[in-house]
Amino acid sequence: MVYLTRIEHFNAAHRLYNPNWTDEQNEQVFGKCANQNWHGHNYELLVTIRGEADPDTGFFFDVKQLSQLIHTHVIDALDHKNLNLDVPFLKGKMCSTENLAIAIWDRLAPHLPAGVALHCVKLYETPRIYVEYFGN
């Protein structure tokens, strides 16, 4: 079994805010991340897939194809966007890094062919903060 990782990146605005709470509650829980005029990040995305190397090619999935999948289903939807306002698949969700990683997993998993398993979505919100999601 081999693990292959592709690194991509996108820049986006967001706000951490629960619409069912008062501004004061949001401020208390999310602090400056609740700023009503948004703030933003350079997100760094690492997508790891798992499979057995093909004896003829030496690899199990074309990494260029993986990059295109990530661009088509994730980056094009998120890059230079407002995560709360501009992204249909995040509508109604809290735009935390945790939820974003889960949403990215759900966008990618259906597009991988048989024999290629999604192993991990690792998402850096800042160079010092990241989350990992393994699909369960």
Partner: protein, 139 residues
């Protein structure tokens, strides 16, 4: 007495939303020039700021400038104003000025300069992304 100049650097960071556009232009013109950076709902960055102060180390302290003092200065003058803010909407500096990395670096320089000892030189390097950065003044 030594007159050897030394450069000292302090790295800080802030996260902010912004939009690049010229209010005098149509949406289409802005789209042509600024592309996806013109998104009306903004986008954002992790800005990485490196402040460089150059001077001769003080004979009594050995310091060009006390780094704790420099850090406090950057926090007060820059980070508290810009961190987790919308540069276009939440800051005085970019009410009318386009918040490009170039302009942000100039604004940061102007905010810091009055607080830097006169015998020292100041330079600001600002990373908008790990791959895009600017310096002011240009050297």
């Amino acid at each position: 007495m030594s007159e050897k100049k030394v450069a000292v650097y302090r790295r800080e960071h802030f996260n902010a939303a912004h939009r690049l556009y010229n209010a005098d232009w149509s949406f289409e013109q802005n789209q042509t020039v600024f592309g996806k950076c013109n998104n009306p709902n903004f986008h954002g960055h992790n800005y990485e700021l490196i402040v460089k102060v150059t001077g001769v180390p003080d004979v009594k302290t050995g310091y060009v400038m006390d780094m704790k003092h420099l850090s406090d200065l950057i926090q007060e003058q820059v980070v508290e104003k810009f961190d987790h803010k919308n540069l276009n909407l939440d800051t005085d500096a970019f009410k009318t000025l386009n918040p490009t990395a170039e302009n942000i670096a100039i604004v940061i320089y102007d905010l810091l300069l009055p607080h830097i000892p006169q015998q020292n030189d100041l330079q600001v390097r600002l990373y908008e992304t790990p791959r895009n950065f600017v310096e002011y003044p240009a050297s």
